[in-house]
């Protein structure tokens, strides 16, 4: 964990309400794909957690959806502005379990953290299959970017306007060695039930601190209480306890 000032290099819309922001500065504390950062936004009290979409030396890429005051403020920021960012939060995905045909499944703004994971897996010589789930064609982003990495990419849309009609679980391949997953909780649950392999699932929770101090983000797991921000956001399939 490090609290750093990062400078905005770019900030542009990928879809109607999903933006990509690139930031420059000290990212040295980001050590695993699937970690997140926590961003101080002027006029708001709590920081806003956003997953690392990609990180290359001193360049950080975030993809965020405008849903409220904080992300709206972010969408209006321009190149050159500085942001106070807590970096290197959370455990992130463990790539050791991937096997040679891992399946990466992202839904909506759960897609971004899988990009960094996919890129690092490919650098290790592992070629993942990626399923990207959206509601409709207009909401799709980062398909090409995953393709460029060399992944096999399957897109699902709920309305069938592009790719497979339905949910991510409708596009599962026959063969895969492991599942890495990030998206809304109903999607995580569907994948949990469908997946034939073990896997790692990234969760979201409202956060007070983002670094383990406040117990704001606690959840029950089979192996005891965990803080999503510090012991997660990635949980192993074996420890997940669905509450409802």
């Amino acid at each position: 964990m490090k609290d750093v000032k990062l400078t905005i290099e770019g900030n542009k819309a990928l879809t109607k309400d999903v933006y990509k922001m690139t930031l420059y500065g000290d990212c040295s504390d980001i050590t695993a794909p699937g970690q997140f950062v926590n961003i101080k936004i002027d006029g708001l009290y709590l920081r806003r957690p956003i997953s690392v979409c990609d990180m290359n030396w001193n360049e950080l890429t975030l993809i965020y959806k405008v849903v409220g005051k904080g992300t709206l403020a972010m969408s209006k920021m321009v190149k050159g502005m500085e942001l106070q960012v807590l970096t290197g939060l959370g455990n992130g995905y463990d790539m050791a379990d991937a096997g040679d045909k891992p399946l990466l499944i992202g839904g909506g703004v759960g897609v971004p953290p899988l990009y960094n994971l996919a890129r690092l897996l490919i650098e290790k010589g592992v070629k993942p299959t990626v399923i990207l789930g959206f509601n409709k064609k207009e909401e799709i982003f980062y398909k090409k970017e995953f393709e460029k990495l060399g992944c096999e990419v399957r897109v699902t849309t709920v309305d069938g306007s592009e790719g497979v009609k339905g949910f991510v679980t409708d596009a599962f391949p026959e063969d895969y060695t492991y599942t890495y997953c990030c998206g809304p909780e109903p999607m995580l649950k569907a994948v949990y039930r469908t997946a034939k392999t073990s896997g790692q699932y990234s969760f979201e929770e409202r956060m007070g601190c983002g670094f383990g101090a406040c117990m704001g983000c606690s959840c029950k797991t089979i192996t005891g209480y965990k803080r999503i921000c510090k012991d997660g956001p990635v949980l192993r399939k074996e420890e997940i306890l669905w509450e409802d």
Partner: protein, 303 residues
Amino acid sequence: MGRLSVNLCGIELDNPVIPASGTFGYGYEFAEYYDINCLGTFSFKGTTKEPHFGNPTPRIAECTNGLINSIGLQNPGVDKVISEELPKLKKFFNKPVMANVSGFAVEDFAFTCEKLDKEEQVGWLEVNVSCPNVHGGGMAFGTNAETAASVVSAVKKVTKKSVIIKLSPNVTDIVTIAKACEAAGADGISLINTLLGMRIDLKTRKPVVANKMGGFSGPAIFPVAVRMVYQVANAVKVPVVGMGGVSSAEDVIEMMLAGATAVEVGAANLVDPLASKKIIEDLPKVMDKYGIENIKDIIGGVK
């Protein structure tokens, strides 16, 4: 003794800055980040007789200059705190620590305090009476002078350590409660705990925290905290530990002018993990600006 030192119930603190209970865990998240021996002390997460998971999530809501939390006293229970947390703490914190204790019945408080009394590293027991009293119909202990005092009496019987009673601000008359606690033997009074607050999500039309209401704290509550510290400090002889929205060295000085002997910093630690450290570092220059030689000289110094 430096110009920042204060004496809290017989123990000298290097400075009056104390991270508040519930915002500093048992210290390691911050110790990973800076040497927490720079602190006056810190108050660890509210500890109860039994382990508690606390309330369902979401437990946090954003507010204008503050937040609502409804953690619900998540903690591993006093036995684990003694067997696991305190030994860990000893490795990176070499000062007396403030043990924050909660309970749902008078005997709970006494049980937990009696156990913590034997722990060498515990300097003070900060007894938080803001939690609902299961035997008293669910209203918090801290909202009634007699029940608050009965907790003090019960705890004083089982410990030789200083007992600082932590009061809830959600009351009509904080002074009467503080005086009752003093009369029952409290060695200090700390205040304020969180204000009861609520936020509603306009999209889902549900309360933002699953528990509907929660404790509101942060800079927004500072004027209420200063007022209550002032009222209580003028009514009791024991030291007052002030808190509520403190986020800067200036805020620490204002609290001390109002009557606080030491000052806790809560929510600020969550949005800036270095907050308490920065406040301590800023204190000397802010004291210079306002012509304060020794910080202890300004305690209760409001004219």
